[in-house]
């Protein structure tokens, strides 16, 4: 029996023909289950490279469904042994899937990445750190010098995180009226100070975009990348009992 590649679960037992080609060489198809539907395709074991091309092919299927349905997207490259395993998974998690579909009805996810001038942030911090070198103890041995470097490092890191936190607060303040929930990662890299996912009502998408434009206007020292609408990848909560 063929393995099954999963794309997502929708809140309907009726779906139009799916035109997106999908990740595998097999066309995505629809499987009704009670009052919900599963989108999957047969998987013959072909190599699925972890690259943007394939990630986007996965998302294209979900995006097509999003236009008419509430979609719980499944992570890229989720493959089950067979349809029977898929049925077990859906049966076991049916109640939670339903709760998520209700919670995420008419909602979508927007992504907002922010890059800051990390060199300037470092410069602001480094002047304070010079004073720290002479505090706490006399670094007169290699072991103490090592710990002193660690002290400087953690102090620097804390200050950088505090600066990042201020930017996060600024963002949340501007966007809180137009989003329901957010998941924000700070300093995913030194340059990327904020990598945020925002759950919004589809109806306020334009307002959300306007608010981001306002943020751009008022924070010329930051660079913004706005993306979406996406299916709410970051806001699904499935407990594993």
């Amino acid at each position: 029996m063929a393995k099954v590649y999963l794309y997502g679960i929708i809140n309907s037992i009726e779906v139009d023909n799916i035109t997106a080609s999908g990740v595998t060489n097999s066309k995505p198809y629809f499987i009704p289950f009670r009052d919900i539907g599963i989108i999957a395709s047969e998987y013959a074991g072909e190599d699925i490279g972890i690259d943007y091309e394939n990630l986007l092919k996965h998302d294209e299927v979900i995006y097509e469904l999003m236009k008419k349905h509430c979609v719980l997207p499944v992570a890229f490259k989720t493959i089950l042994e067979n349809e029977s395993d898929m049925n077990d998974f859906i049966t076991k998690n049916y109640e939670q899937i339903k709760l998520n579909l209700e919670k995420l009805l008419n909602k979508c996810e927007m992504g907002l990445k922010v890059i800051w001038d990390v060199d300037k942030a470092k410069q602001d911090i480094s002047s304070d750190n010079e004073n720290l070198q002479s505090s706490y103890f006399n670094a007169d041995t290699p072991a103490k010098k090592y710990l002193q470097q660690k002290l400087i490092y953690y102090d620097y890191k804390n200050k950088l995180e505090k600066k990042a936190e201020l930017i996060k607060e600024k963002l949340i303040k501007e966007l809180e009226d137009v989003c329901c929930m957010n998941k924000i990662k700070l300093l995913q890299s030194e340059k990327m100070v904020v990598n945020g996912a925002f759950l919004i009502d589809i109806a306020v998408k334009e307002k959300f975009i306007d608010s981001v434009e306002k943020l751009k206007e008022n924070n010329k020292d930051l660079s913004f990348l706005l993306s979406g609408p996406w299916a709410p990848y970051n806001f699904i909560e499935l407990r594993r009992d």
């Binding site: 890059i115 290699p142 072991a143 103490k144 990662k185 990348l225 706005l226």
Partner: protein, 114 residues
Amino acid sequence: MDASRISVDESCTDLFTEEAKLEKNSIADRINANPENAEQGLAKLVLTVIELLRRLMEKQAIRRIENGSLTEDEIEEMGLTFIKLEEKMEELKKVFDLENEDLNLDLGPLGDLM
């Protein structure tokens, strides 16, 4: 993909492209496990846990230094211990061909371990 789903000022495109490449690498690292590299996968997991403990101990030591609760001798001893621990970690990373960036775990909704 529908191009209208991405909005970025032209002047910042290079910045984000560079960051996207870093993200892409981290995706590959996270998922690309197979029988051939299972040993390295296990080493990665174990070393990540050790690195987490090492950092926790280090932070605790820093807190105690900042609070002034350690004598000069205790600071010396701790410094030596951490140097040795770091050296040992470097050795193990070399053995299993791992970089600092490899020593992390994606905990899903909880975010990254470190």
